[in-house]
Each structure stands twice: as C-alpha cells, then as structure tokens.
C-alpha cells in the first residue's frame, strides 16, 4: 500500500488537484482573479513535491513502472505546466472557463505521466489517448475563433488516424509474439519482416505525435489556431512526453531490431530537420514560425535518439529541459504581445527593442538558445545531441545536422534583426507586463543561461539511470 502511494505519487497529486478543481467548479465558483493565484500556487507545490521521494519500482504486474529518471522526466513536464500557467496570466484572467482549462490540461498531464511510466502496450495506448483527447478540446478553447475550431478538428482527425495505425501495429505485435509487456517483448521479438512492419506502424503513431516529417502536416494549422497557452503546451510538454516514451520503447522493447530503427531514425531525422527548417524560413506569423522551428527541433532530438545507449537518453532529456525553457520563453513573449496588441507577425516586431527592451532580450535569448549559440544552454543541448548522434562515427549525418543548425540560425536571426535593427515608425507600444509573467520569463532566462553553464546538470541526469 505504501509502495502504491510513493510510486504513483505524481499521478495521485495530479488527480487530487483535478478533484479539487472539480469541487470548486461545482460549488459556487470563484472569480478568475482569486482562482488563478491558487492554481499557480498548487502547481508550484506539485512541482516541489516532484523532487522528493523518487524511488524505483513496478506496479500492477509491470504495467506501471517508475524510476528516478522517469520521476525527473515527469517533473520536467510539471515545470512546463507551471511556467505555462504563469506566462499566460493575462489570457487566463480573461477567459470564461478557467477551471475547465486547467482540468483539461491536468487530465492530459495525467495521461502523459501514465504514458511515460507505462510498461505495457495496453497502458501505453490508453494513456496516449488520455494525453491527446483533452488537448484536442483545448485547441478549440477560443470558441469564437473559426481557426481554433478548424485546428481542433484537424487534430482530432489526425489523432484518430494515428491511433488506428497504432492499434493495428499493437495487434500485429501481439499476434506475432503473444505478449504486450515491455519486459517480455525483447526476448520474443524475432526480427521477422512482419515484426518490422508492426514496428513501423507503431513508429508512425509516434511520428504523428512528435510531428516528424512526413506526418507533420497538422502541426502548423493547429498551432496557429489554438490559444498560445495551448500551443506552447502542445509544442513543449506534449512533445516532451512522447519523446520520453519513444526512448523507452526504442531502447528497451525494440532493442533487438536496433539495426533497423537506427537507419529509420537517421532518415526521418534528416528529413524533419531539413523540411522544418525550410518551411520555417518562409513564415510570417510568429506562431507558425515557432511551429515549424519546433518541427526542426524534433529532428535534432532524433539525432540524439539515434544513439541507442544511456548517452542518448541523457542528451535527449537534457535537451528537452533546455528546449522547454527556450520555447516557453519565446511563446511567452509572443503571448504577451498578442494578448495586449493583437499582433503576431514578424514585421510587427520591427523596432521592438526601442519600446520593450525587456521583452526583446527575453525573446532574443530564447531564439539564440533555440539556434544553439553560446553562452545559452541551447548550445550545450545541441552539442550533446550531436555527440550522442556521432558516437557511431556516422559523420555524414552529423555534418548534415550541423549544416541544418546554420539554416535554423538564418531564420532565428530574421526575428532578431526585426527586433534590434529594422526601423519602424510605429513600433509596438510599451507593454506593461504582469509581475507573474515577468517572474516566469526571468525563470526561463535564468534557466537558459545557467542550465548550460552548470555542467553538473548533465552529470546529474547521467546518474539517474
């Protein structure tokens, strides 16, 4: 019993919060100004609890598995949700359905926790659905916007399609091996063509969720249509959780066919980096721009995934931590400007530095970190991903990834150039930012600078294995 409480600690805490929110909603209700600080505080407490009592163990006949590393991954997601709640204060205060927003977000988060912990294809499938369906409802949260409904529709359809493929893959695997347990599958995998096919179906579901090329088409429209809080949740927290479970599935379950998935990963990683970059170059809307750049970032994550050992896991987890800070900071600035001035185009950002130096620096640091330029942490993150990817002496692939970093630098510089250099007669006026938004931005900036320079963070992740 004690084990159950400790091992499922993160899930239980989230469940309690969800029930609390439900009670508040059912009761006489609270005004947003009162409720929001309480939720933010509760999320902070949740984040802090996440650091303690992390032990290794399994439950329900190996269906649920947790370890210090998995707990750390879950806490990265907690941090992401907490920062999103802070960064979007302006928007959340105005929304009519504050409690529902967090209900849905936390329900999806619960699904992601179970997803990362899953030790069985059945739990894996169920929690993947739990992590997806609330997000589709969230994408439709701007009820008066047509593009928001369109985005939600696209997301529902593509998710349904991908879960169909996933189920087909799972049924094939069960048919070949007679098992759906992660622990038993590696011994039963025979590497037959049918098994490979099943694996490819399974991987396709991952590709949909991570928006890996060629399954990326839903991304840009959904990102553009959704409220920015949801967009940042999709692009950071949701992707991070799927990337974590991808590591487990590839490195544990499908280790016998590593020679197959290694080449598959290399091909899709190259395509994803290149196509994400090429599309990002031509975007005018900041949300679409960040959507395509996050596709390219997933390509870089796959470079680390191709490693196949603990080094791959560490570098991916480390990069995702940095990516979370950088991308959330960038989305945070976009959210503030879009909420206050209704401007989302890169051209509108011209001359931003003259009126809003604080926002400009935050956005610039975030973009430089995404581009991987020191002293920001993005440099270390990218470098370790490439180190992980290069361990098999596949230099052509690494050169290709490094060249893609230059392409990505080109379009990140476009935004910096608009902010700092281009002249504009009517730049965006001075925006008074909320204290909690400022705090979240400072947390992100500190994270971007310090996580890289403090080398022990990476060492710490290495010790968690």
């Amino acid at each position: 019993m004690n084990d159950l409480l400790l091992l499922m600690k993160s899930e239980l805490v989230i469940t309690i919060i969800i029930f609390g929110l439900l009670f508040i909603k059912v009761g006489k209700g609270m005004r947003n100004e009162q409720l929001l600080p309480i939720i933010q505080l509760v999320l902070l407490v949740n984040l802090i609890i996440g650091f303690f009592f992390n032990i290794e163990g399994s439950l329900f006949g190996d269906m649920f598995h947790t370890s210090p590393l998995i707990a750390f991954e879950k806490n990265i997601l907690n941090l992401g949700v907490y920062l999103i709640a802070l960064l979007n204060t302006d928007w959340l205060k105005k929304t009519n359905h504050l409690a529902e927003f967090f209900l849905l977000i936390l329900a999806a988060l619960l699904g992601m926790f179970c997803l990362i912990s899953s030790g069985n294809l059945l739990i894996f499938y169920l929690s993947l659905e739990l992590a997806t369906i609330p997000v589709a409802a969230l994408a439709n949260f701007d009820l008066d916007k047509k593009s928001s409904s369109e985005g939600a529709m696209k997301m529902i359809l593509s998710s349904a399609f991908s879960s169909g493929i996933l189920l087909f893959g799972i049924s094939l695997i069960y048919g070949i091996t007679g098992s759906i347990s992660f622990a038993a599958l590696p011994q039963l995998a025979d590497g037959s063509p049918l098994f490979t096919l099943a694996f490819i179906f399974l991987f396709t579901a991952f590709a949909f969720k991570l928006s890996i090329v060629p399954f990326h088409f839903w991304t840009a429209d959904v990102y553009e249509g959704s409220p920015i809080a949801v967009t940042s949740f999709l692009s950071v927290v949701s992707k991070a959780s799927v990337a974590f479970i991808l590591l487990t599935v590839l490195y544990k379950v499908f280790l016998p066919i590593e020679h197959i998935w290694y080449y598959l990963i290399i091909i899709v990683a190259s395509l994803t980096m290149l196509i994400g970059n090429l599309f990002a170059m031509r975007q005018q809307n900041m949300k679409r721009f960040l959507a395509f750049s996050s596709i390219a970032q997933v390509g870089f994550i796959l470079v680390g995934v191709s490693n196949g050992t603990e080094m791959g896991v560490s570098s991916v987890v480390y990069f995702i931590l940095i990516y979370l800070f950088s991308n959330l900071a960038a989305f945070g600035v976009v959210a503030v400007i879009s909420e206050n001035k209704q401007k989302e185009n890169i051209d509108d950002y011209k001359g931003l530095y003259s009126t809003n130096p604080f926002l400009s620096w935050i956005l610039a640091i975030a973009l430089f970190s995404l581009a991987g330029i020191p002293p920001t942490a993005g440099f270390f993150g990218k470098l370790f991903l490439l180190t992980a990817g290069g361990s098999k002496a596949n230099f052509g692939f690494i050169i290709f990834a490094a060249l893609n970093m230059i392409i990505s630098l080109y379009y990140y510089l476009r935004v910096t150039r608009a902010i700092f250099m281009d002249k504009n007669e009517f730049p965006i006026e001075k925006i008074k930012t909320n204290a909690s938004v400022q705090m979240a931005m400072v947390i992100c900036a500190v994270g971007i600078v310090l996580v890289g320079l403090m080398g022990w963070v990476f060492d710490y992740i290495q010790t968690l294995h």
Binding site: F379, F384, T387, G390, I399, A402, L409, R417, F458
Partner: protein
C-alpha cells in the same frame, strides 16, 4: 599567476557597465576595465618570462583544471604558452584602443560597450583554453556580439553584412564541431588538447578530420575561397567592430588552425600542405590585386587583410619551424596594424563623412597627427624595415625558402612579388588622402585627433614599433611553441 583573471576582469567590467547610470560612466568604466586588462596582460608577460627564466620548461604554464561535465570527460582546462601570451597581449591592446576610439558613440552606449567587452571575454577565453570543448565554447560566444555590433551600430548595407558574416562563420563552426567530435571519438572520449597531442591518430582518420578542422578555422581567418565575409563584414562594422574583427577575430582562426588542426593532426597537415600553400598563394595575389581596384578606404584595408592573412596561412603550409614562427608573427603584426588602420579610417570618416579616396585630399594640412599615423600604418603594411610588418614577412619568407621544392619556391616568390602590388595601392591611397590640395572647402574646418584617439593610436603604434625595432622578445615567446609544433610534424 592565475590566468582565470582574464575571464574575471572582463566579466566584472561588463557587469559594471550594465550597472552604470550615464553614458559617461559607461565609457569610464569600460576604459578602466580595458586598461586593467592591458596591465594584466603585461603582468602575464612578465610572470611568464620569469617562469621561463627559472628554467620551467613545461609546455604550458599556469595550468588549472576543473571538472566541468564528468560523464563526458570534459574539463575546464586552462593554461598558456608563449603563443597564447602574445595573443593575449594583442587582444588587450586592441580592445583598449577599440574602447578609446568608440568614445563618441551616443546610440545605445551601454549596450555597445557591453557587447565589445563580451567579445574580448570570448577572445581571452579562447586563447587560454586547453580543452577543445571550452575553446569552441569561447569561439562561439562572440557570435551574438558580432552580429549585433555590425547590425545595430554599423553603416552601409549592415544587415546584409551581419547576416552574411554570422552565417559564414557559423558554417566554419559547424565544420569545427564535426571535426572536434571526430577527435573526441577517435581519441577515446577526449577533448583535452594536451592529452590528444599524446595520442597517435592513424593517418587515414587524419585525412578526414584535418580538412574539417582546418577549413573550419580557416573560415574565421579568411581562407580562400571562404573569405567573402571579410570585405562586407569589415566595411559595415563600426570602427571598434572592424578593429576587433580584423585584429583579433581573424587571429582566433589562425591560432585554431595551428593549435588544433596542424598540431593535433600532423599527418593530415602534411597531406594537405600543398593545397594550403596553393590556396593561400591565390589569396595573397588575389587580395592584393583586388585591393588595387578599391576606392573605399575600409574596403582597401579589408581586401589587403585577405592578402596579409594569406602570408600566415602560406607559412603554416610550409611546416618548418621558422615558417610557423613567421606565421604567428604575421598574425600579431597584422592584428596590430590592421586595427590601427581601421581606427585611423574611422577617425577620418568621423570628420570628413566619406571613406572614398577620390573625394579626399590634402588632409595632412588640417589633421597632421591622423595622417602621419596613416602613413606609418601604410608603410608597415608594405613591409618597411623598422616596423612590425617587415619582421613578420621576412620571417615568413625565410621560413618558406627553407623548403627547396620548386612548388614551394614558386609560391614563395609569388607571395614576395605581391609586396610590390601592396606598395602600389597603399602609397596611392595614402598619398591621395593626405597630400595635394584640399578638395572640399569644408575640410578646412576639421580638427585633428582628440586625446582619446591619440591615446588609441599611440598604444597600437607602440606595439608595431617595439616589434619592428626589437623583434627578439616576440621571437623568444613564439619560437618555442612553433618548435614543438614543427617537431610534431617532423615526427620527433
């Protein structure tokens, strides 16, 4: 002596710059900071000579090592040899002069000085680090400052130039990154320069890794045909930015070519030596002839930089000890000379508001100090004895001549011939600017150099002349380091 002071001082200066309230305060803080850096650099030189005088024959002095990321075997390892000491001196001098000539910048003064000091920090860190990872980190740290300095405070088509410069330099960095990772895996998970130099890497691997590293660093030092960022970048940058780019940033590349590519991969260097010589000979002649066609003073200096840096790459390709010493001397000499040249061009431009040689004339009459400095720099550039240019080029040619193959002879002779072309364009440009009658009546009103500009020019002139008259001290610093590299190439 603790070499980490070279990181601490600029960091503190940058911090105080950020905390300053008025523009005047910012300038004074930056000036004090960069003066202290010069003092520190001179102290380092002194301490280094004392240590060597005490027969401390270790390859690197004042070494320190701290673990950075243990699971990847990355250590923060710093230390200096004679080559790094001289490069640090160069950096300190150029940065001080850069701070002085930017005294009148009114547009976002605080940000300007902050970025300038960040550039200096990157250069110091690069020269003291003995771990490839740390070295690369400091090389890359200067990307953001360079981009913003050119893009915000530059002139002309500044956004285009800033973009081009940053993207080309990042291309170089990408090659270095891959080469570095290659060394890491070939050397058994090792980024440490000293440990890597003890490992014997099979020639087949060196064939792959050497071009990655050499071309990567070569982009920074304008290796033909990857030199195209130089003219645009240098001419669009603000004065201090051009001084830094040409004076220090290009030397980062040269130092990296030698310290990382040639030193760690000697077999690769031997395999590719002829190609390096060929490319650098082309750069020398091409740079010189293109300069003849330029009318803009900044373009003249930018293209002549390509030609001058070609000498040091040529010498690296020759692989003898004298030639490598010459390459390093040329780097130091060119750093001082070109920084001063850009400073003087900046001073002239601030007054006349033109950089076109044809539009100027007779400036000697109104600003004798500035034009005199211009003359001295010009003469240094064409290699007049008594100035640093002569010493450096002489050493390069002597070193190159030690190779008696016909190919090396032809390369040396053609490089030497370029000096004649240099004389043509330098004398023409300087004479047009300074001599003759005053072309525009409004030039009559112009004032000569202010105290800050005089100070800046004198500092750099001091360096140029002290190397020109007494090159022995610089040779003492550089030759032992060059000997270690050439011994490694010879397989001793």
């Amino acid at each position: 002596m603790n070499v980490l002071l070279f990181l601490g001082f600029p960091l503190l200066t940058a911090l105080f710059v950020l905390l300053s309230r008025s523009n005047q305060q910012v300038r004074v803080v930056a000036l004090i900071g960069s003066l202290l850096q010069v003092v520190l650099a001179l102290l380092l030189l002194f301490a280094f000579r004392v240590e060597r005088g005490n027969n401390n024959a270790a390859q690197f002095l004042f070494e320190q090592q701290y673990p950075l990321i243990q699971s990847l075997n990355i250590h923060f390892h710093v230390g200096v040899d004679g080559i790094s000491v001289s490069m640090i001196l160069l950096t300190a001098f150029v940065v001080l002069a850069g701070v002085l000539v930017s005294w009148n910048i009114e547009k976002m003064t605080k940000e300007f000085y902050f970025l300038l000091i960040l550039l200096a920090l990157g250069a110091y860190g690069f020269f003291i680090s003995l771990n490839l990872f740390v070295l690369f980190f400091f090389l890359e740290i200067s990307v953001i400052p360079k981009y913003l300095l050119i893009g915000v405070w530059g002139s002309g088509k500044k956004e285009y130039s800033a973009n081009k410069l940053v993207l080309m330099l990042m291309f170089g960095s990408a090659l270095i990154l891959v080469g570095m990772l290659g060394l890491y895996f070939v050397g058994g998970h090792e980024f440490d320069l000293v440990n890597l130099s003890r490992i014997i890497i099979e020639p087949a691997r060196q064939t792959i890794l050497f071009p990655l590293l050499f071309v990567g660093f070569g982009v920074f030092t304008a290796l033909f045909p990857l030199h195209t960022w130089v003219p645009d970048g240098h001419s669009s940058a603000p004065t201090a930015g051009s001084m830094f780019l040409a004076g220090i940033s290009m030397k980062l590349g040269g130092y990296g070519c030698l310290r990382v590519a040639v030193y760690l991969l000697p077999d690769g260097a031997k395999q590719y030596a002829d190609i390096i010589i060929l490319l650098s000979s082309i750069a020398i002649l091409y740079g010189a002839f293109v300069t003849m066609m330029q009318r803009d003073l900044k373009y003249i200096n930018a293209y002549s930089s390509i030609s001058h840096v070609g000498f040091s790459l040529l010498a690296m390709g020759m692989l003898t000890q004298t030639a490598i010493t010459g390459a390093l001397m040329q780097m130091i000499s060119h750093g001082l000379m070109t920084a001063l040249f850009f400073a003087v061009i900046g001073m002239i431009y601030d007054r006349t508001h033109t950089r076109m040689v044809d539009e100027m004339g007779g400036l000697m009459k109104v600003m004798p100090f500035i034009t005199t400095v211009l003359f001295i720099v010009g003469l240094c550039s064409l290699g007049l004895p008594g100035l640093s240019g002569f010493v450096a080029e002489m050493t390069v040619f002597v070193g190159s001549w030690q190779n008696d193959h016909i190919f090396h002879r032809i390369a040396t002779i053609s490089a030497a011939m370029s000096i004649v072309v240099t004389a043509v364009y330098i004398l023409r440009a300087v004479a047009r600017t300074a001599m003759g009658t005053i072309t525009h009546p409004e030039f009559e009103e112009l004032k000569d150099a202010h105290w800050n500009e005089k100070f800046a020019a004198m500092i750099l002139l001091l360096g140029i002349i002290s190397i020109g008259i007494a090159p022995g001290w610089l040779n003492d610093l550089l030759a032992p380091g060059a000997e270690i590299i050439s011994n490694r190439i010879a397989g001793k």
